[in-house]
Amino acid sequence: MTDDSERPLVFIVDDDDGVRTALARLLRASGLQVETFESSEAFLARELPSVPSCLVLDVALPGLDGLSLQRQLVGRGHAPPIVFLSGRGDIPMSVRTMKDGAVDFLSKPTADDVLLEAVRTAIARDRAARAVTAARAEVDLRAATLTSREREVMRHVIAGKRNKKIAVDLGIAEKTIKVHRGRIMAKMRAGSVAELVRLAEAVGVAPAP
């Protein structure tokens, strides 16, 4: 058993008490952590968790409906992947939600294996997204330790220039460039220029012209 801080968390938003309770039971019985909400607004008030998570979302909700909640979450930039559950899904609606990034659009009542499969896919997707974000955050941290001069030099290095050329372009001694280059590689923990190029790209540093 993993401890709770690592167990994936499933959010259920459904205004129907009976459905909400039953879904929560089913997912808990399958080893997932579950939190339930009776409205989109209640869900929006909750901070996003640090563990992989996904959202099982009813379409017809009082107040902010499921589709609007999806749009709001997409607009915020980071949202748990969504599995829609609808009592009255139509094809255009499901197409729209899938275009907006929903993992699946299921109709009620849903067989447990179908629902669990969708939930697992959603969690896997969130886990992958988190890994990307975490990796990026790590590189961001490294890049933040660069001095502005080093950053400038890095832009030339990743443009594929030799030290001599960089020295001319920046009007500094070639020896100094060499020192900078060494520090950059160390701070960015890059084993090669190729790796440095990839890392710089990840944090949005563009090569010098």
């Binding site: 089913l26 399958s30 009592g87 849903t110 447990d112």
Partner: protein
């Protein structure tokens, strides 16, 4: 001042009398003192909200005690002193940690006796701060959250919903408690809008109140202040009193207390009793945790909201658009009309179209008859009236077989060009499928001497089709050289096309209307039903998983089973309501002819017969005794049986697709049988055939037969089904004939 609020005796003002040190966590004791009796609905609701909120407290156990002063029945200062002594004795050894004062009378009682009764126990009062005496309000130890409950809001709501109001009848009781409410109402309602007058129905006997209420003039609204007792000395809870007279009222009733909703009031500006109880209990918990009462009582104010009973809105014809924004509408149950307006309108449009088509056809037929009569008149002159127009005229001499006509006539009548041909050439030019009936009609005209009146299609040289209507007469007078048929033929292709188009449009609209109604209805029902079904399925599957675990969590499984039962009951309730939808409505019995209804329903579904290639065999006696029944409902049954029969034959070979409808009167009943040549009723379906939601049709709802049977049985008849000896099934319904007089 708003003594009114003291009915909801859970106001929320913390009155702190003396410093209270907080004991370490353990058991806490809270005494709730209510102003009125135990069974007052407000008290019951509030009390259970308090209990529930206390039950959620996890740090310590809360022992809840309650007392009921019942000031309506036990008024007066002497009684108050007895109450004080009684409570002092009773609670000497069980001192409460906190008192919740349920209502203005209780707050006043406690403050009056604070020196000798519960002298150092904090008191959480139940009425809004501003309803207390100025002296109490000045007391710095009083703190409390706000209750925003604007005075007069209920009256304003009533005026808004009934803009034509001319009188306000105020109903109040005869006890001192009632007078308190009446005084407060008067204080809140100094004046009425111009043109509106008060009618006072206060301090009466219940029987007199009922009589007065029944005679209220038009454009009156009733303001119901609570009645705790009438002039004869009978005690009531306000809701019991309401039940005594509400039914007699020809005017809408308004009141401010939510337990009265559902008892004949339209609504009012209300604070939920349960919310009051909950709020009071939450503050109490914080005080018990050691928080200063003033701080504990701070928080979101409780706001009153306009609250109305949906059924009463309907009863008084109040459009929901007139409700103030944020109004809470309770007991909503949407009507068929509200839910399916589009489908109903489509159906009405289809019916209107059908009606106008019939009128158009009648007019057209009349003018044709008239034209025919005209032709007859001119016949003596040996020629035809349409000669000059675009009527083609030709003659056929039977022996020798010879067709003759002018070239223009040939053109107009769609005859072959070659003049030397005989009748065979005419037949040749006619569409093969029409040839037989033209040949038959001509043969019969020659044989009987009757006029010929036929319509047929001819194929033109460019491959198109023209519709020809032909009218002719046999001339076999003795002076004629031989038997000769003279025919006037008219090209009616344009008219025919228009007719067909109209018919197609009509069928399409009718079909769409039916499909929309059925589709819409089943979609909304499916959605509703899917909720409990989803809950049941997920519960059951969760249960299976739990049972597979070691050790299984039996108590959770028990809860799951209880929930499944509950959700099942919920689904059953929906089905009941759905049936009520279909079956409700005023059954209006009228004499109806079942033959005529069968004929009409077949006509309505004609397009279905055509598209599904089903032929129909009707045995509908003309002089059928009439049964007394609701036409619309019986039409619904008939239509349902016909459509079912069509569905049943979807997979049959086209040659087998015959639907037979037979109507017959036998021994005091009229029996209608609808027989199909489909697969018959599957043995598994047999027993469930008439139960709701039993269906073996893809996309079927399984409601048709169940509702049909209810409708027939409501007319004292019965609906049965059996398989035919050869193939298919026959559904039979019988309706009783009115007893012979």
């Amino acid at each position: 001042m708003r003594v009114v609020a003291s009915l909801l005796t859970l106001g929320i003002t913390a009155v702190v009398l003396g410093a209270q040190t907080v004991p370490p966590p353990g058991s806490k004791r809270v005494l709730v003192i209510y102003a009125d009796q135990r069974l007052l609905p407000t008290n019951v609701v509030a009390d259970s909200a308090i209990q529930a909120t206390f039950a959620a407290e996890s740090s310590f156990h809360i022992e809840l005690l309650s007392e009921f002063l019942d000031v309506a029945r036990f008024p007066g200062l002497a009684q108050s002193a007895l109450d004080r002594d009684y409570l002092r004795q009773k609670y000497r050894a069980r001192r409460p940690d906190l008192i919740i004062a349920g209502g203005g009378p209780v707050v006043r009682f406690l403050l009056r006796n604070r020196a000798t009764l519960f002298s150092d126990v904090p008191i959480l009062s139940a009425i809004a701060l501003d309803t207390l005496d100025p002296a109490v309000r000045a007391d710095t130890q009083i703190a409390g959250p706000k209750i925003i409950w604007p005075a007069g809001a209920t009256m304003r709501l009533a005026f808004r919903l009934h803009p034509e109001t001319r009188h306000v009848a105020v109903v109040s009781g005869a006890t001192e408690r009632d007078h308190g409410f009446l005084r407060s109402f008067r204080a809140d309602t100094q004046s009425l809008p111009p043109g509106i007058t008060f009618l006072w129905l206060t301090g009466l006997r219940m029987s007199d109140l009922r009589r007065e209420i029944a005679q209220l003039p038009d454009h009156t609204i009733v303001m119901y202040l609570p009645v705790f007792g009438d002039a004869s000395g009978t005690s009531y809870t306000p809701r019991q009193a309401l039940d005594e007279f509400a039914a007699a009222s020809p005017a809408p009733i308004y009141a401010e207390y939510d337990p009265m909703l559902g008892h004949g009031i339209v609504g009012g500006e209300m604070v939920e009793a349960a919310a009051l109880g909950r709020t009071a209990a939450l503050i109490a918990r914080r005080i018990l945790h050691g928080e200063a009462p003033a701080a504990a009582a701070r928080g979101e104010p409780l706001r009153s909201v306009p609250t109305v009973d949906w059924r009463e809105l309907r009863r008084w014809g109040i459009a929901e658009s007139r409700l103030p924004p944020g109004t809470v509408v309770r007991f909503r149950s949407p009507s068929l009309w509200a839910e399916h307006r589009a489908a109903i309108i489509a159906t009405i449009v289809a019916l209107l179209l059908e009606g106008s088509l019939i009128v158009a056809l009648l007019l057209e037929r009349r003018s044709r008859n008239r034209a025919r009569a005209d032709l007859q008149k001119s016949e003596d002159r040996g020629w035809f009236a349409g000669h000059a127009a675009r009527v083609g005229v030709w003659t056929w001499d039977v022996t020798p077989d010879r067709l003759s006509a002018t070239p223009e006539s040939r053109e107009a009548a769609g005859l072959p060009v070659d003049e030397s041909l005989g009748i065979a050439a005419l037949y040749e030019s006619i569409e093969p499928s029409d040839r037989a009936h033209v040949r038959l009609a001509i043969g019969s005209a020659l044989e009987t001497g009757r006029t010929l009146d036929i319509e047929y299609r001819v194929r033109t040289q460019d491959g198109g089709v023209r519709w020809i209507t032909a009218w002719g007469q046999v001339d076999d007078s003795p002076d004629a050289p031989g038997v000769r048929l003279t025919v006037a033929a008219l090209d009616v292709t344009a008219r025919k096309k228009a007719e067909l188009q109209v018919e197609q449009d009509r069928q399409e609209i009718a079909r769409l209307g039916r499909a929309a109604a059925a589709g819409h209805l089943s979609a909304s029902i499916t959605h509703e039903l899917n909720q409990p079904l989803a809950a049941i399925l997920a519960n059951a599957q969760a249960g299976q998983r739990l049972l597979a675990q070691q050790p299984p969590d039996i108590s959770e499984v028990r809860e799951i089973l209880a929930d499944i039962a509950g959700q099942d009951e919920r689904a059953a309730g929906m089905i009941r309501r759905l049936r009520a939808h279909f079956e409700r409505g005023d059954t209006r019995a009228e004499p109806i002819d079942l033959s005529e209804i069968a004929r009409r329903m077949v006509a309505i579904t004609r397009s279905e017969f055509v598209t599904r290639q089903v032929s129909v065999s009707l045995e509908l006696p003309e002089a059928l005794p009439l049964v007394s029944a609701d036409r619309v409902q019986i039409e619904q049954v008939m239509l349902n049986l016909i459509l079912n029969a069509l569905d049943a034959m979807a997979d049959a070979a086209p040659a087998d697709r015959v639907l037979s409808i037979r109507v017959a009167a036998v021994e005091g009943i009229v029996r209608v049988s609808v027989a199909d040549h489909g697969a018959g009723i599957h043995p598994e379906m047999r027993s469930r055939l008439f139960t709701p939601f039993a269906t073996d049709k893809p996309g079927g709802m399984g409601m048709g037969l169940s509702i049909s049977r209810s409708l027939v049985e409501a007319h004292g008849g019965r609906l049965t089904a059996e398989n035919n000896a050869d193939r298919g099934a026959t559904f039979t319904f019988e309706l009783p004939l009115p007893a012979a007089t």
